[in-house]
């Protein structure tokens, strides 16, 4: 272990530190936060021998450029299909690299995907709050927003014996256009014709897409009856329909309660793929039963375990 210093030369909007999230505090209004694409985040971490839920940098379509101003360090990049360069030379988007002093790593949007993770072999400096370094942008409690000229001092940087290599893409790394939902809890607020248009229509991701949620364009969803509903719990994946009739899928930084009807919930297995869609990408919704959603979560879990086992860095594991 040795010291390394990274300087952020450029960081687009929504570049934050995320660990696996801050579960268990929703009853106090604290959302879980954590990575938008949990599998890609875990991949970047285990590829360089970090714990799966370690702090990593999440970057959106604005990209990030980092220069090593001191020392050397292993890094891994995963998530989406970004253009990744080291000193201008293209490297694989999903890969493990060793960076040395003065190396300049740039991650810019490529063919597809919205979120990319940069994990470093060492401890990222970020504020821990309620046991987590996940950044909740709205509150500023915990974590860290990345901005140009920030320096990151890594006291426990590792550059060996991590092996530079390319990482195979996991099943489901790509943006998911066929999104499975369980209808409810307020499907009764929508006529069967409106539910039909939700399930048969083609939706488009709008520019109103950030870590809180994704507003969709497409068939408007009229609410039957009055909008007079008590606030109740929201979960990641809740598809909320405010008065304007455009569905909003709530994601990592969602508010913990809300008073708009929710027509459906995106199943956990499809949330990472959904998050990798970009503005102007299309998607459709398909209803499954809660039992099918649970079965999908278990299949996804098995695939994830096998994949993370295969790509993890054995050499540097403690």
């Amino acid at each position: 272990m040795s010291r390394a210093v990274l300087t952020i030369e450029h960081a687009g909007p929504l570049t934050t530190v995320q660990d696996a999230g801050r579960p268990g505090y929703a009853r106090f209004g604290v959302t879980t936060a954590g990575p938008m694409d949990r599998l890609a985040h875990a991949t970047a971490n285990v590829a360089i021998g970090n714990p799966e839920g370690a702090s990593a940098i999440e970057t959106a379509l604005g990209g990030i450029t980092v220069v090593v101003s001191e020392g050397s360090i292993a890094i891994a990049v995963a998530g989406g299909a970004p253009v990744v360069t080291i000193d201008g030379t293209r490297v694989e988007a999903w890969s493990v690299q060793i960076l040395s002093r003065n190396d300049r790593l740039a991650i810019r949007p490529g063919r597809w995907g919205s979120w990319t993770y940069l994990a470093i072999a060492g401890t990222l400096p970020a504020k821990r709050w309620l046991g987590s370094t996940a950044t909740h942008a709205q509150s500023g409690f915990g974590g860290r927003n990345m901005a140009a000229a920030d320096t990151l001092v890594i006291d426990d940087a590792r550059s060996r014996p991590v092996a530079p290599r390319n990482l195979p893409l996991p099943v489901g790394a790509r943006p998911r256009q066929d999104v499975r939902v369980v209808l409810g809890p307020q499907d009764r607020f929508f006529s069967s014709a409106v539910q039909q248009s939700f399930l048969s229509g083609v939706y488009t991701v709008t520019d109103a897409y950030d870590r809180m949620g994704m507003r969709l364009g497409g068939p408007k969803l009229a609410i039957s009856g009055s909008l007079d509903m008590l606030s109740e719990a929201i979960v990641r994946g809740s598809v909320q329909v405010p008065g304007h009739g455009d569905p909003i899928v709530l994601l990592a930084d969602h508010q913990t309660t809300g008073g708009y009807p929710k027509i459906a919930t995106v199943i956990a297995a499809d949330q990472d793929g959904l998050a990798q869609l970009r503005p102007r990408d299309h998607l459709t919704f398909r209803a499954v039963s809660p039992e099918q959603a649970v079965a999908a979560a278990r299949i996804r879990h098995r695939q994830t375990r096998a994949y993370l086992q295969a790509v993890s860095d054995k050499g540097s594991r403690q």
């Binding site: 309620l130 979960v235 809740s238 309660t257 956990a268």
Partner: protein, 219 residues
């Protein structure tokens, strides 16, 4: 128990929403709290977290361990049993600064309510509030008990940013905010009391069911 059984709805594979009613009233809210306490004492298999709201309780589960069918059964059994007794509520006293820059919406609330600004302040100070739920943002405790004569609906368009510590009202509710946030509620005062203390063993000041009184802070 003679209460009608709750409606239990699936939220994907994340958990179940147990709806005890559609209106905020004391019996409904008590049933939410009772199931919340019962779960804390005796969590069902695969239980992850519970999120109480005014008339419903979200019960999260780990889909790798259990499923909605099993959790539903466990919840119905818990609901049928006498719940653990509620803890004794605490009374919190929160100092509030009123007037001037602390109260950007005081004059408008007064006008809409047909009162003098000082009467609005007096009304806000006379009530005892109850902590119903936390929601929306970290540490946002929804307090019920705002007196009838200063109840106003929310604004149609939220105001861009109001600072943390804003004491704001809408309908029968009141919130002391913890983060800078746009809001459609009416800000009538400012408090520097910390609702969230991240380093404290209990980082959140209120427990659900606690009572709150406001006092006028010296400027």
């Amino acid at each position: 128990m003679s209460d009608r059984p709750p409606v239990i709805r699936d939220l994907g594979d994340a958990g179940l929403l147990v709806e005890f009613g559609e209106r905020l009233d004391e019996p409904t809210y008590s049933r939410v709290r009772a199931l919340d306490r019962a779960l804390a004492e005796e969590p069902c298999r695969g239980f992850t977290e519970a999120i109480p709201s005014f008339a419903s309780l979200f019960v999260g589960y780990d889909p790798l361990v259990t499923d909605g069918v099993e959790v539903r059964e466990a919840l119905l059994k818990l609901i049928d049993r006498p719940p653990p007794p509620p803890p004794d509520p605490k009374l919190h006293t929160i100092p509030v600064h009123y007037g001037g820059a602390h109260s950007p919406d005081l004059d408008m609330v007064a006008e809409k309510a047909g009162l003098a600004p000082e009467e609005v302040i007096a009304a806000h100070l006379e009530a005892t509030y109850r902590v119903y739920i936390y929601g929306f943002a970290p540490g946002y405790a929804y307090l019920g008990g705002t007196p009838e004569r200063i109840r106003l609906p929310r604004r149609d368009t939220p105001v861009r940013s109001r600072p943390a510590g804003s004491v704001m009202i809408a309908g029968g509710q009141c919130i002391v905010t913890t983060v800078d946030m746009p809001t459609g509620w009416w800000v009538i005062g400012r408090s520097f009391c910390r609702i969230i203390d991240p380093d404290a063993p209990r980082p959140f000041l209120f427990d659900l069911g606690d009572y709150v009184r406001f006092t006028r802070a010296d400027d």
